[in-house]
Symmetry: C2
Subunit: 248 residues, 2 copies
């Protein structure tokens, strides 16, 4: 009801429709009493968790197949459906297997040229995971590479608003073993510190999943501990949208 | 808060997690104070709107790629995410271009053998649309075929709960023209009457979209008037979940 009252205060078109269609009660670009700017371009960047099987030949704005089947798709469907007046424009440019330096390699084309107003980055699990195999990077390299990428981003796009997702590893998942500890949490500490230093909204995905394990097992939320199920993607979407709403 | 109180009454595991994770406040199999039965098998049937590009080699329960990118996917992600204790099991068996008689042709394999507890059917737009081309069926054929299909279903699955979606055509969409009227609404009348006669929950998709046109144009919700956008899929999901919740 709060949203509804706030909407009434702001007024605007579509009130009759809102009243007759209860699920459109918040179908305005009003979130918690604050107005979302219109025409935002929102870029979702990351690795396989963001990629989630997207069709990489479909690069247009709000392209259904180009958004993949992961948390990104859930974010976009939810925000487009519930904020129809905001004219939100989403891109997904996650690529499976990416580490920070691989984002940097494709950053001109896959970030800067898109001129996002909001940039969401979820990166780090491979920076650690691949170090168990042939990758030579460390947590310090992750930290330095990530800061360099953000410096470059802010130089080109000084007004971009940032969302940084916490890289996560869910204990009990098939790909997670004792080799992940205590090293992987170091990457999470760096991600949190970077978010603070760069005034990004931080999405605490590890806590989201850890809490969810009290409700259903890891097989339900994230079978291998790295790649979320549809239900896990729902948790991520919920947490991400909260972070997004804090930006405005 | 109501859900929360009802959950407290029913009790159960996971309370601490629910309290610490606000978006899991309704992460139980409790909807509006009623308990959803556990282990429900839910089958989504229909035409291209349900199909929505699903990978037809992926036929398993809750298969991400097998669910397509339409309202079905949005239903499943939302229900699995928000009802993690219910062990819901979804199948999508929509096939593009289908009319009622084509559902009947594949009904043994694509419905009866799956033994759904809840069967959702959205069918009818092609029964009309293709009659503008080479299909000889009429609204009366649609009505008779649909009733025959449901009689057969209830004979095999006497306890199945039914959801029937209203076939819809959104005015202003590129595929919709004056040839659709007054004939197409006849199919909608039959669908509504069938839902009533067979005690199905009816999802009034036409009204959902018509109301939404007061908030954003047809190009936003359903560009060709037949196939919803992601935002249109969100509206359908919201309306479908309401109908689902009325079943219990």
């Amino acid at each position: 009801m709060k949203n509804r009252r706030d909407f009434l205060k702001i007024g605007g078109a579509g009130l009759a429709a809102v009243a007759s269609t209860p699920f459109l009660a918040n179908a305005t670009n009003v979130v918690k009493g604050k107005k979302i700017p219109e025409d935002l371009t929102i870029l979702l960047q990351g690795d396989s968790i963001t990629d989630a099987g997207r069709d990489k030949s479909k690069l247009g704005i709000n392209d259904t197949a180009g958004l993949g089947r992961g948390y990104a798709f859930q974010i976009v469907t939810n925000m487009l459906g519930s904020q129809p007046k905001a004219n939100l424009q989403f891109y997904n440019r996650g690529i499976s297997g990416n580490k920070v330096f691989q984002l940097a390699d494709r950053w001109d084309e896959d970030c800067l040229s898109l001129k996002p107003d909001v940039l969401s980055i979820l990166i780090g699990v491979n920076d650690f995971w691949h170090s168990l195999k042939d990758y030579k990077g460390t947590a310090q390299v992750y930290d330095a590479d990530f800061r360099k990428l953000l410096d470059r981003t802010l130089k080109a796009l000084p007004n971009v608003k940032l969302i940084i997702g916490e890289p996560f590893a869910i204990k009990g998942g098939k790909a997670i073993n004792e080799k992940w500890y205590p090293d992987f949490p170091e990457y999470q500490k760096y991600a949190a510190a970077i978010a603070k230093d760069y005034k990004a909204e931080y999405v605490p995905f590890q806590k989201v999943f850890d809490d969810a394990l009290n409700v259903a097992p890891v097989s339900y939320w994230c079978p291998d501990g790295v790649h979320p199920s549809m239900a896990g993607g729902y948790l991520m979407k919920e947490a991400w949208v909260k972070a997004f709403n804090r930006l405005f």
